[in-house]
Each structure stands twice: as C-alpha cells, then as structure tokens.
C-alpha cells in the first residue's frame, strides 16, 4: 500500500524528496532504454526528414536552382520578387482561397447536417448510412479523381446523362474549379460526419433532456446548446481541412492539369508544376515557403480564435461532466 501511494504520487509529479527517491529506484533500466531510443529515433527523423529539408528549401528559394544542369546560383530575393509579379501566382492564390472556402464550407455544413440527422434518433439504419457516407473518404484519391473525370465527361459522363445537360465541366473555365470542389466535398464530407457524430455522442444526455423539459424548441436546442458544445470538433475539422486543402493537388493533376487556362491552378499545383515539370527548383521553393507561412498563420489564427472563444464554456462543461461521474 505504501509503495503504491508513493509511486502514484510520483507520477503526478509531486516533489516530496521521499517520493523522488522511491521513484529513482523504481524506474527500471528498460524504461530508460526504451524511452531514450524512441525519443532519439523520433528526433533524428525530424531533423533528417524535416528540419534539414526545410533549411535547404529556404536557402534554395534565394537561388536559381536547376537540378538538371546542376545550377545553384545565388540570386537574392529575385524569386520572391518574380513571384509577386507573376499573374499565375495571384490567380493560383485566389483559386486556392475559393477552393478552400467552398470545400471547407461544403464539408462542414453537409457533415454537420447529416451527423445531426443520424443522431436525432429518428433515423433507422444508422450504421448503414454511416458506412455509406464514409465510403468515399477511404477511397484512394487518385482513383476517385479518375472516376470523377469520367463522371464529368461531356459525352458519356453520368452527370450530363443524369441531368440531361450538355456541359463540358472540366474544360469550361466557368465550371472547372467548381467541378473539382464538388468532387472534393463528395470525397471528404464523410469524415466530418463521423467526427460530428462522435462529438454529438459526447454531449451528456441530461443536458439535452433538461433542454426538452424546459420546452426549448429543436432549433433553439441545436443553436444554443448543441452547437456550442460541438465547437472543439468544429475547429478541429476546420483546421485540419484548411491544412489539407492548402496542399490539395492530386485532383487538379488528374482532372485538369491546371487548365483550362489557369482556371484550376492551385498554389500547391503551381509548386509541383514549377519544380517537377519546369525544373525551377528555386522558384518552386519560394512559392512553397509562402504557402508554409500562409498555412502557419491561418492555423495559428484559428487556434487563437478557438482558444479565446472556448475558454469559459469548455471549463464549465468539464466540471459538469466530472460531477456527473461521481454521482
């Protein structure tokens, strides 16, 4: 009994000298060994596969860098200057913005609506639906992009056939980006369904019961009770979607190759194009760095918004739950 209490309190990090001594003796060599090897390997891979490459990319973005002819000439900020003067970059930026906003909105709204419908207990076959909606998410993106290229085919594609339309979705500047957005939402909304469902199930039942006893309408319950409690999940989905969609490029590569014109150029596609099609490694690195900064800023901003908006309600919610457990 004494041993147990001492080791347990040591785990909580209490600093009484006796517990520290006990802990030092109790800690087996195998634990240290396992810990050191693991942390060492993780740190080594971080340095070798991420930090050094980021350093090289940063240095490279100030060079005229072409691996084919071995050129690596210092050019100062020329790449960045050229970038801001490049109309394709601005087009790609606005496309990325439109793509990101539409895809995130579609994913979140559709995911939330469907999760709520499945949660509301009105629906039978919940598991069946959950599996159906999740199916596209686990499909390989390259294959899905091919499938939708065929779906959009103006001659035999299911979309024109089904709706009796005659639109060349992927080769018409007005529709090409939208077509890619629709495919992306179709593929990704299932993940939001699963996450929102998990969030909904985590809401203590008596909160919802209390609301219905008080006579709150379904809409008010959703807006004032459920939605605030889903906030952590909402932010998680928005942040991960944001990071994901800023990097999206396989859809574009398979479906339109950036065209027609520059209508489906995304920043990440432009990086691929500059690096591995045109072999302008320096220029591509400069774009990649801008993208990294944008990602970091947007993530940090969402994080801050989440924290400040969440601070009080979240704490209240957790005290509520712990009380529930003890009773």
């Amino acid at each position: 009994m004494t041993i147990q209490t001492s080791t347990r309190s040591a785990h909580r990090g209490e600093t009484a000298p006796v517990t520290q001594a006990t802990r030092r003796i109790k800690k087996p060599a195998s634990e240290l060994w396992l810990r050191n090897i693991t942390v060492g390997v993780i740190m080594a891979s971080l340095v070798l596969l991420l930090l050094i490459p980021i350093g090289i990319a940063f240095v490279g973005s100030f060079h005229d860098w072409n691996p084919l002819n071995g050129r690596f000439d210092f050019t100062g900020i020329d790449n960045y200057a050229a970038l801001f003067a490049d109309p394709t970059f601005w087009r790609a930026s606005s496309n990325t913005l439109v793509f990101g906003i539409l895809a995130i909105a579609g994913r979140v709204l559709l995911g939330l609506a469907i999760a709520y419908a499945l949660f509301s207990k009105l629906s039978r076959w919940r598991t069946f639906f959950r599996t159906i909606f999740y199916l596209p998410t686990v499909m390989p993106l390259v294959a899905v992009a091919f499938l939708w290229t065929l779906m959009y085919n103006p001659q035999f594609g299911a979309i024109n056939t089904l709706f009796g339309l005659d639109v060349n979705w992927l080769f018409d500047q007005r529709f090409s980006l939208l077509a890619i957005v629709v495919m992306t939402i179709w593929k990704d909304f299932g993940f939001a369904v699963i996450l929102f469902l998990a969030g909904l199930y985590a809401i203590p039942e008596d909160v919802l019961e209390a609301a219905s006893v008080d006579g709150a309408s379904a809409w008010r319950t959703f807006w004032h009770i459920i939605l605030p409690l889903l906030r952590p999940m909402l932010f998680f989905i928005i942040i991960t979607s944001m990071i994901g969609y800023l990097q999206a490029f396989v859809q574009v590569l398979v479906m339109t190759n950036g065209g027609p014109g520059t209508s489906t150029q995304l920043i990440s596609f432009m990086i691929y194009d500059q690096a591995f099609v045109k072999y302008n490694f320096g220029y591509a690195s400069a774009i990649a760095f801008i993208l990294l900064i944008i990602t970091a800023l947007l993530t940090a901003a969402s994080w801050r918004m989440n924290q400040s908006a969440l601070d009080t309600p979240r704490r209240r919610r957790f005290t509520h739950r712990s009380k529930e457990k003890t009773s």
Partner: protein, 271 residues
C-alpha cells in the same frame, strides 16, 4: 412526427444514393465495351456484359505487377509505421521526461508542414545519396508518422496509469507492459491508423512518381496516370483499372471497420 421521420429517412437515402452512385456507375461501366461507353444512347446497366476491359489493362500495362507492388508497399509501411507510432505514443503518454511537452508540440506542429516545402530538398537528397528507384526511398520517409504518434498518444492517455504500475509491481518488464497491456488496449486506434496509413500509401502519387523510374517497380497510382496518357481513348480500361484500384482499400476498410470509427473519433475528440 411520422412525416418528419419519413422525410428525414428519405433525405438520408437520397444523399446516400448520390454518394454511392459514382461507384455503381464505375463498376457497371467497367463491364461495358468501349463502343457502348462512347455511344450516344447511354444506359446504366451494360447492354452486353464483357470482361474485355479487365483483360486489356493487363496486356497494356502489366496491371497486376503494379497492383502487387502497391500491396507490398502499403502493407509493409502500414505495419512498420503503426508499430513505431505505438511505441512513440506509449513513450509520450506514459513516460515523464524533460522536454516531453516541447517535443510533442514540435511533432504536432510538423503536421502542418506542407509536402511542397520538403519534397524538393528530399528529392535532391535522395537522388544524391543514390536511393532512387528503390523501395527504401518510399519506405524511409513514411516509417515515422507524426499523425500516428499523436493519435496513439491520445488513445493511450485514457489507459489508467494504475494498470501499468500494478504490472510493474508484479515484476512485468516495460516491453511486456507495452506489448501485452497497452497495445491490446489501443486496438481501436490501431484499426483507424491502419486504414489511414494503408490508404495514404496506396494513393500516394508524387513521391513514387519522382523516385521510381523502372516500370516493373512502379506503383499503381502512378501506373493509372501513365495508362491514361498512353491510351487516352481506352475508357473501358480506365473504368476497369480504377475499379480494381479501389478493391484493396475496400478490403482493409471492411476488415478494420468495426473498430475504426471509435478510433478515428477519439483522436479528434481530445485534440
């Protein structure tokens, strides 16, 4: 009330129908002949069922070689990275050491580093050390997964320390505790991560495209794109190849699905 239930189920059924329609259309179209696919008179079901498309992809592409390569790589990387994630998650969840919080924060923040920043230097590094055209070049960058470590730590956080302490007092080694207690309790997270990892390797396009140059070592995702380039009008073959490219992921999903949703959700809930 009855009307609402009906409307709700009808709505869900409609969305569900829209979601699965592309799959059915693809599978059925794979059994149509090319002339039927391109004809003006479209029908959902093939008028004449044919296996010609499935035969043609093998003769034109050595499809099953690429398919086998992708399976081999996906299984290997999934097994390795799930195991390293388990160990990493265990160390971060259950051991206390100096700098743990800071290192974990660094691991978390690496998840927002875009592929675009690191892929150019990685490409030059791997080329200069002569690792191109080998499976090692595909496996090495994927073995340690920040997302995997994060997910496993989240899941192991809920395992009470008392269980571990009790085992230690009974004389269990750390290795025993890890393999016999912590790993089996993380089976939901293992299922979820396995599906994710398998899918990520299976769908990864750019890195194998850059690294693998010989045709017999190439993976399916890259093969699909070159297939289209070379046989631009063989839509039947494309339908068949895409259908087959989806099968292994579907199998993995069905195998792990029962525990998958709980595992996927737990990572986010506490995140």
């Amino acid at each position: 009330m009855k009307v609402r239930v009906f409307a709700l189920n009808a709505g869900l059924l409609l969305v569900g129908g829209i979601v699965v329609l592309p799959f059915f259309w693809m599978i059925l179209s794979a059994f149509k002949s090319n002339s039927e696919i391109l004809s003006f008179d479209q029908s959902f079901l093939p008028r004449e069922w044919t296996l010609e498309n499935f035969v043609s992809i093998q003769t034109k592409l050595d499809f099953f070689r690429l398919f086998f390569n992708s399976v081999l790589l996906s299984v290997t990387i999934t097994a390795l990275s799930v195991y390293t994630s388990l160990v990493g998650g265990f160390v971060f969840a259950k051991y206390t050491f100096r700098g743990r919080g800071a290192l974990f924060a660094v691991i978390l923040s690496t998840m927002m580093i875009t592929w675009a920043v690191v892929i150019i230097p990685r490409y030059t590094i791997f080329r200069s050390i002569g690792l191109t055209d080998s499976y090692a070049s595909i496996i090495i960058p994927a073995v340690i997964s920040a997302f995997g470590i994060f997910m496993m730590r989240q899941s192991m956080d809920s395992i009470p320390d008392e269980i571990l302490e009790a085992a230690r007092i009974d004389g269990a080694s750390e290795w025993f505790i890890f393999h016999r207690i912590v790993a089996p309790l993380s089976v939901n997270a293992i299922s979820a991560l396995s599906i994710f990892q398998f899918l990520w390797v299976w769908e990864d396009y750019l890195w194998p495209y850059l690294m693998i140059s010989s045709e017999e070592k190439q993976v399916l995702a890259v093969g699909l794109t070159t297939f289209r380039g070379q046989y631009g009008t063989d839509y039947g073959g494309l339908f068949a190849a895409t259908t087959l490219a989806i099968v292994p992921v579907l199998v993995v999903y069905i195998l792990f699905q029962r525990r998958f949703i709980a595992g996927a959700a737990s990572a986010a809930l506490k995140g």
